[in-house]
Symmetry: C2
Subunit: 452 residues, 2 copies
């Protein structure tokens, strides 16, 4: 038979069992955390009508999207989870209760240029709160607080959520008489971290910004310090633009609430350079950086928008949301050696080796283990003892249980701790208890472990 060389497309993450198990654990923690905050899980099709997905249009998206026809239908794969959410809320508006709080964890598709650490298929893990007509600002503090909890539950410690408010930026540029160009200017200012202030100034001048205004802009984005200091510096601009003043008040409120929602001061920072590229953010915006890896960029971003679904409905649906790009984050964590290899990645906690023709005692013990929440595999292949043990070794299965004539007649099972080599013969119920306790202790670790 002619064979085809097996391969996985480049830009598509396909993990071996051990890292896949770590990835699944992270998904589970995110699902659990999001649920604890009263978000409902949502699942929408990967394929949508191209007309729906491209309602907004726009350059990059249109170039990267996977679009194709099937029969007469012009179809496309979703490139984020926000557009499907907008469609969902517009379509099911009458059947939802607002504020509508949903989380969605799913794969999205972007045909980007393939490069190391960039993926064409990747998981987004989103939470959004959508209001009907209006939405209280408290949500703008709660959303990053949930992300703080989620990262903490994952084991990430050295990260910071950067917060800004688009109204401050819009108002500030209006003060400079640069309202029209503010989008372009923000995109330039966004490069500050990468290219430094001198090059930002040069670019601004190229864009036709006056020397004086460029100076004002650089002074403005140079405002740093702790949150109180930044908020106080902003006071100097008060009274010159209504939008600015409103943004300033919103930002102060969000900062106050963030503390109330339990985010420690060192885990969030007002940062006036954050703008977020997307056009639809209108208020608070977020980015999240790993303090030891600023080069990675934001690992979790989002913000407040005024019109989630304006392309599909005339209902005013303001919202706030944030998204973790888990595939890329997982890749980076792996590269940096941040994945906790102390956690069990074996498919089973116990491998049971039946030493008799009759499998019944082994199966009965496996059933007891499973009832106790312990993952058990009965090894039923005809192999030499050494081959069976090397299977357990290769998979890093924590315990092997032996059930031979002798054990069966004595009503015990012999269990071996594969890490220490310790063996003990115990009555089955006690063996289950011993293993369950040991596994619970090992499961207490978090999937991310930063280097000390």
């Amino acid at each position: 038979m002619e064979r085809i060389k097996p391969r996985t497309l480049s830009g598509f993450m396909e993990l071996l069992p051990a890292p896949q198990t770590q990835f699944e654990r992270m998904l589970e923690i995110l699902r659990h955390t999001y649920s604890l905050y009263g978000f409902t899980p949502l699942d929408t099709p990967v394929i949508e009508s191209a007309e729906i997905l491209l309602a907004k249009g726009g350059g990059e998206t249109e170039k990267q999207i996977y679009r194709f026809t099937k029969g007469d239908s012009d179809l496309a794969l979703r490139f984020d989870l926000t557009v499907p959410l907008a469609k969902y809320v517009a379509l099911h508006y009458g059947e939802l209760a607002f504020p509508f709080r949903r989380y969605q964890i799913g794969k999205v598709y972007r045909g980007e240029r393939a490069q190391r650490g960039r993926f064409r298929e990747f998981y987004q893990c989103d939470i959004d709160v959508i209001g009907d007509g209006k939405l209280d600002i408290a949500n703008e503090a709660e959303i990053p607080a949930i992300i703080y909890q989620a990262f903490t539950a994952l084991g990430l410690e050295r990260f910071r959520i950067r917060v800004n408010n688009r109204k401050i930026l819009t108002g500030f540029y209006a003060m400079q008489g640069l309202a029209e160009q503010s989008g372009d200017i923000m995109r330039t200012v966004d490069k500050l971290d990468k290219i430094g202030p001198d090059k930002v100034r040069a670019l601004l001048l190229e864009q036709g910004v006056s020397d004086q205004a460029a100076g004002e802009i650089l002074d403005f984005i140079a405002i740093t310090g702790d949150n109180a200091a930044v908020l106080s510096a902003l006071e100097g601009y008060r009274g010159r633009n209504e939008t600015f003043d409103q943004g300033m008040e919103e930002l102060a409120t969000v900062v106050k609430y963030l503390a109330a929602f339990g985010v420690p001061e060192d885990h969030f920072a007002v940062d006036l350079t954050i703008a977020r590229g997307l056009d639809y953010y209108t208020g608070t915006v977020y980015e999240t950086v790993m303090l030891d890896h600023p080069e990675i960029g934001s690992i979790c971003s989002g913000g407040r928008y005024d019109s989630l679904a304006e392309y599909y409905t005339d209902k005013k649906l303001p919202g706030v949301g944030i998204s973790i790009g888990l595939t890329r984050l997982f890749y980076v964590l792996g590269e940096q050696g941040y994945l906790n290899d102390q956690l069990v990645t074996a498919p089973a906690d116990v491998l049971i080796l039946p030493m008799t023709e009759d499998l019944s005692p082994a199966i009965a013990f496996a059933t007891q283990l499973r009832q106790g929440g312990v993952r058990a595999q009965v090894y039923s292949e005809q192999k030499k003892f050494k081959g069976k043990m090397s299977y357990a070794d290769k998979l890093h299965i924590p315990y092997v249980a032996f059930l031979g004539e002798e054990e069966i007649s004595q009503g015990v099972v012999k269990i071996k701790d594969m890490a220490t080599g310790d063996q003990q013969a115990l009555p089955p119920a006690q063996a289950v208890e011993t293993i369950a306790a040991a596994m619970a202790a090992r499961a207490a670790g978090k999937p991310i472990r930063e280097k000390g």
Copy 2:
């Protein structure tokens, strides 16, 4: 602004929050059950090279597949999880330990003609065990035993796993001198349930089967009764064909082991009419029927195959697997009123209504609840009391907690059980305990509840 009418493609299931929550619970139970049996989770790309997915070729698949180009690449969406598994095992052969036990739960795509209850995007929930060179027959009994456990955990009771062995059929048709035509004949015999024996006979004659052989075939597939009776009737054919005899022994072994693996006799049945359309099954085959809804067809099917990945590798990789088509099953369960509506589908267990300007006490209580595993939402919108209560009502949130000046000064929280209307003021820790216990009791139910 010109608006686009929001819509979801036909043949794509998109659930409202309450049924989505039920669906998620079923996914969770399947993940948990599969894990307890020592299967490792796998996730492969939705998009693969068309060449890989279509290595086997074949009519229906090729017509239904979503295939498209992006740049120079000829791509397609996976139409099952077995082909990606074959690719995965062939590609990562050197890094896996065999038997390789994996589960995969994911969406697959088939551009079928749209009709009620048929989906173009649907979840498959697969388990497979792959051996390297050989695989013990015990696996062929364990796989349906896991499915029995999975359905039982979901709450399904009136179902039966039908078991047969392809070698018996191949051997039997060889005895009749019909080896060449056996594929076509099995497809005809497979229609027995739908069209009855007379029409099957007519079709067989049309296919060129002799009158005598048609009689033998109808006698053969008329063998019914309990498992012992069927196995005993098969004995009458022993000694005439080696493959038949081998199949008979395998079937007897699987039946014996099925009982050992804990499947009650009334939940599985030897059924000589089961063949499964796919060409690659070579031994034991399964179908699963809902006893009260035979019209639905099989809700879970699979079997033993000798060469999982022959299109990609010369390694002999025999395996056995089974697949639940969860999207269709969920649809049918909903239609039949089998989804347990006693289970909580609200996004939160408790809605906390802060009655003070300062949200801190409400947030502190929410944190306590979450630490106790209770899902809590702080309602922060500026609404009238009635509006807040109707939000809880509409979402069927089980508890509402009130935190006003009075409660705060007394160190209590007032909780209202929305089902009974009972209210009580309790210290926060006690409120958490009370709610956690009530929610645990409510979570004990299973997602499927058959009508009595």
